[in-house]
């Protein structure tokens, strides 16, 4: 066998249906959340350490624009990961395992998580 | 020149369709060094397109069914040039073969009692034609061929058969004694050419429907085995007998199974009339295929065809209801929507008789051994050469094959060939090796193409050949028209011999394969044309305006086409079944 054979895998030439895109997004948000754990644990640690620590976390979240953005980003990622995860669990119990309902569920996932992203923004600010 | 690499097997089976895989399975189980050489991955073979089922008296739909009734139908369906010993073998051995397939996993449809579902097909009767319509065709919905081919491939995997997939057999190799000792084969992937040496060479290469412009056949059905055998000088039997399936989708040629009519569908003309009631008052739409196809052409010629040009008729299925269509004929619904833009649950399918099956082929006995004639006209076995399936002419189909008998033919005679070769190998086979000049002879054709420097292109020549066959050797035939066709073919042969292969690359060169296939189409077309011109009668699928009647005095015979002289001789039909009385020729009505 010729191992030098090319492989057609130029992802820009391949159509990805919505369920595939939501799956990739599920992965990406998962990785983001893992990295974001640093911030989450820092905030938890600090806020429980003392009243001053608690106030420090509050202040940062209330005034620091960067902290706000990180919090919003993580909450958004969490929202999407959460909704897409629910979709996975539904499919595991054999709900919506047809092409039409698969696409529908992906659409719902996008819409619901978009709403959550907005709500998270409202909450953070 | 012949410094070719060689591969050596006990048996080489050329063709990975139903019959080839069934023969291979038998040999693989016996532990013989067997290889299946196929120009496509085996499950891409044309068996996969068979729809309606496999006809066999397994006594499921009717517990009293009898293989002798099936044999009677087969002999009558073949218009009495069916070899009765062969029909007897097929119909009596059939149930064993069908049960084997079931045991291998073939997902047959079922009756409520758990037995295999059987549906009515054309030309089927109970009690030797006296008991009305029978339902004898075992089916897996309308994908029986697909289910059968995949099951056979799977069981070959289970039994570790060697596969040479996407290899193309170019020509047979004969030794100095005229024995067949293998073939020359081309690896399509790499372009390598090898000499495959074998003690038994089985041609299971299927049909050649692509000699016609309009056919239900796959694009790969180019009669490669027939071409190879003819070039090697072996005779062909009953090549004038080509079945035109009544229901090919108008325009596309895609097959619509006879099972549609078995399930209750029927043909209508432009007036909405169920015209088969006039042509076959008893069997109606389930008369023999030749009868139905001719009736359709008569309707069209008499101005009762459908559509703008009045050149087709309709197959009506909507009255069966969506449930029956979805359960029994799902594939037809799919094909009709795709190729006729018609949903059969709502509207009829436009259909027209379309070239479907080659009843003729390499004459063989029931063991698959190829037969030629000696100088005195006696049968003589060709050493080393076997054939089974559509490429062979055993002959169980005579002048017209019954629906569902092709799949049975494949498994019964594939198995028979495998068993016989196993026995022969056990007893020992010893043929003289091929000499260098023998191999060079088999390489000549390939070398010609590889050295071609100019000339006409393959696709244009192929189209011309298909048009000649379509126009001169269709459902109805006539002397002048056929003579014209034969002459045009002779002229075309000269041009093909000078044709050009522009692309001479090695890796997956499909242009080279198509060029080699064109030679085979030419061989098959010419054998068909000359045999058709010679048979001066109408019998089964061979209908002549100028000789409208059957002529049992002169033509209750097989035709035998000899390629060297391009002459047609005759061969006796077998009327001596071993266990039942001979079915004497009668007037054939449905």
């Amino acid at each position: 066998m010729n191992s030098k054979r090319p492989v057609n895998l130029d992802l820009t030439t391949i159509q990805f249906p919505l369920p595939a895109l939501t799956s990739i997004a599920h992965r990406i948000t998962g990785v983001i959340l893992f990295i974001g754990l640093i911030f989450a644990f820092w905030a938890l640690d600090k806020s429980l350490s003392s009243a001053q620590g608690f106030a420090a976390v509050r202040d940062v979240l209330a005034s620091n624009i960067l902290a706000k953005l990180i919090a919003w980003g993580l909450l958004s990622a969490l929202g999407f990961h959460f909704v897409a995860g629910i979709k996975h669990l539904l499919m595991d119990i054999d709900i919506g395992v047809t092409l039409e309902s698969g696409v529908r569920k992906a659409q719902i996932t996008v819409v619901v998580s978009a709403v959550l992203v907005i709500l998270a923004g409202v909450w953070v600010w | 020149m012949s410094n070719l690499r060689s591969l050596t097997f006990d048996a080489i089976i050329i063709g990975g369709g139903g019959s080839g895989l069934r023969a291979a399975l038998e040999l693989a189980k016996s532990g013989k060094q067997t290889a299946v050489l196929s120009k496509v991955f085996p499950t891409r073979s044309h068996t996969v397109s068979a729809q309606g089922g496999i006809t066999c008296a397994i006594a499921s739909a009717d517990p009293d069914d009898d293989w002798r009734w099936h044999m009677y139908d087969t002999v009558k369906g073949g218009d009495y040039i069916t070899d009765q010993d062969a029909a007897e073998y097929m119909c009596s051995e059939g149930p064993k073969s069908v049960f084997e397939l079931e045991h291998m996993g073939l997902p047959f449809s079922r009756f409520d009692n758990g037995r295999i579902y059987q549906r009515p097909f054309g030309g089927q009767s109970k009690d030797y034609g006296k008991g009305g319509q029978a339902a004898r065709t075992c089916a897996a919905a309308d994908r029986t061929g697909h289910a059968l081919l995949h099951t056979l491939y799977q069981n070959n995997l289970k039994n570790n058969t060697t596969f040479l997939n996407e290899w193309y057999a170019v020509d047979l190799v004969k030794n100095a004694n005229g024995d067949v000792v293998g073939c020359i084969a081309l690896s399509i992937e790499t372009g390598e050419v090898v000499h495959v040496k074998a003690k038994a060479t089985v041609l299971a290469t299927g049909g050649a429907g692509r000699i016609y412009a309009s056919t239900t056949n796959a694009l790969i059905n180019t009669g490669d085995g027939i071409g190879m055998a003819l070039r090697a000088g072996f005779p062909m039997q009953d090549m004038e007998m080509w079945q035109f399936h009544p229901t090919g989708i108008y325009g596309a040629g895609v097959l619509v199974t006879e099972g549609c009519r078995g399930e209750g569908g029927y043909l209508i003309n432009k007036d909405g009339e169920r015209f088969m009631e006039r042509y076959a008052p008893n069997a109606k739409d389930l008369a023999g295929r030749d009868v139905v196809a001719r009736s359709m052409v008569m309707e069209i010629l008499e101005g009762r065809g459908c559509g703008e040009k009045g050149d087709h008729v309709f197959l009506k299925l909507d009255h069966l209801g969506e449930e029956v269509l979805g359960k029994r004929l799902p594939g037809i619904v799919e094909l009709s929507k795709t190729f006729a833009h018609a949903d059969p649950a709502k509207e009829p399918i436009p259909v027209v008789p379309t070239c479907h099956y080659m009843m003729g082929g390499i004459p063989t006995n029931v063991h698959g051994q190829a037969i030629m004639q000696d100088a005195d006209g006696n049968d003589q076995i060709v050493n080393g050469l076997f054939a089974c399936g559509e490429a062979a002419c055993v002959s169980v189909h005579g002048a017209n094959r019954l629906g569902g008998n092709s799949l049975l033919d494949l498994v019964v005679f594939g198995r028979a060939a495998g068993m016989f070769i196993e026995g022969a190998l056990n007893e020992g086979i010893d043929y003289l090796d091929a000499s260098e000049s023998d191999i060079d002879a088999a390489m000549a054709r390939m070398n010609r193409w590889n050295e071609s420097g100019g000339g006409e292109s393959v696709p244009a020549l192929k189209a011309e050949l298909q048009d000649i066959m379509q126009n001169s050797f269709g459902v109805f035939r006539q002397e002048d028209n056929m003579k014209d066709g034969v002459q045009k073919l002779a002229e075309l042969r000269g041009r093909i011999a000078e044709a050009h292969l522009a692309d001479k690359s090695n890796a997956f060169n499909t242009a080279r394969v198509e060029a080699l296939e064109l030679d085979n189409l030419m061989e098959v077309a010419e054998a068909t044309a000359i045999a058709a011109l010679e048979r001066k009668e109408s019998r089964g699928a061979h209908s002549r305006y100028d000789y409208p009647d059957r002529d049992d005095v002169n033509w209750l015979k097989h035709s035998l086409y000899f390629p060297a002289e391009k002459k047609v001789g005759k061969r006796d039909v077998n009327f001596k079944p071993r266990t039942v009385d001979t079915f004497e020729p009668k007037v054939r009505t449905y």
Partner: protein, 236 residues
């Protein structure tokens, strides 16, 4: 305008160091041809164009390819279904090594098929007639046995692209379930045991690319879910 712009992935190992796209103009005379017919017209222009084809009616599975970004069978894909802005882009099935032009090496795909032991296993002696099967049990095979091994599904599956040696892929798993679901097969435990690892079945992420492209309308995602259910039931 009846001249179709067709762009095709070309690669001939004997002359090309890398694949490239070649443009063709095809006169369709306004007909709604199948993509395979377009390829035939192109092959008349350029006989070196390589692609596989056989039945030309969607049952043999030879001419799977990527048409305007989506896998399917060329012979049953009408131009009206796939062409946008009068342009058709044909590429080989993604993720498999290209032998030439639109012809891919299907070896790994077949290997995964063979791995699931795609044949009925039943160690009880066979009866003199067929093994009986109720119509209800037979119905369980519908939607499974119709697979034509065209590889459209597996080569549309990212999990198969990333782990072709380990993830069985949608086609193989559909066939695996075809035998798990067959009331006549007695090797269920062995079959399941062979699928328990983290790759063979569990790489499926349920994105249904396979379902979206299957030319036979089959649903490997559902079959994979059923296998998981059986694995779960078997383990608890």
């Amino acid at each position: 305008m009846s001249t179709l712009q067709v762009s095709i992935y070309r690669y001939n190992p004997e002359t090309d160091s890398a694949p490239y796209m070649q443009e063709f103009q095809v006169e369709t005379h306004g007909r709604d041809l199948m993509v395979l017919n377009v390829l035939e017209l192109i092959k008349e222009q350029d006989s070196s164009m390589a692609y596989r084809r056989s039945c030309r009616e969607g049952v043999c599975g030879s001419d799977g390819m990527n048409m305007n970004g989506k896998n399917g069978l060329a012979c049953v894909t009408a131009l009206s279904d796939v062409v946008k802005n009068n342009k058709l882009v044909l590429r080989p099935l993604p993720g498999l090594p290209v032998i030439r032009d639109l012809v891919v090496d299907m070896g790994i795909f077949y290997k995964q098929y063979e791995r699931i032991q795609p044949y009925l296993q039943n160690d009880e002696p066979a009866p003199a007639i067929e093994r009986l099967q109720s119509p209800e049990d037979r119905d369980k095979l519908d939607g499974l046995y119709e697979c034509i091994l065209c590889a459209c599904c597996s080569t549309a599956c990212p999990s198969f692209w990333w782990n072709p040696e380990k993830f069985v892929g949608p086609a193989g798993l559909l066939q695996s379930y075809r035998f798990l679901a067959d009331s006549r097969d007695t090797a269920t435990r062995e079959r399941l045991a062979d699928l328990e690892d983290p790759f063979s079945v569990f790489r499926c992420r349920g994105i249904m690319n396979c379902v979206a492209v299957c030319p036979k309308g089959l649903n490997p995602t559902r079959a994979i879910g059923k296998i998981r259910e059986m694995l779960l039931a078997n383990a608890t």
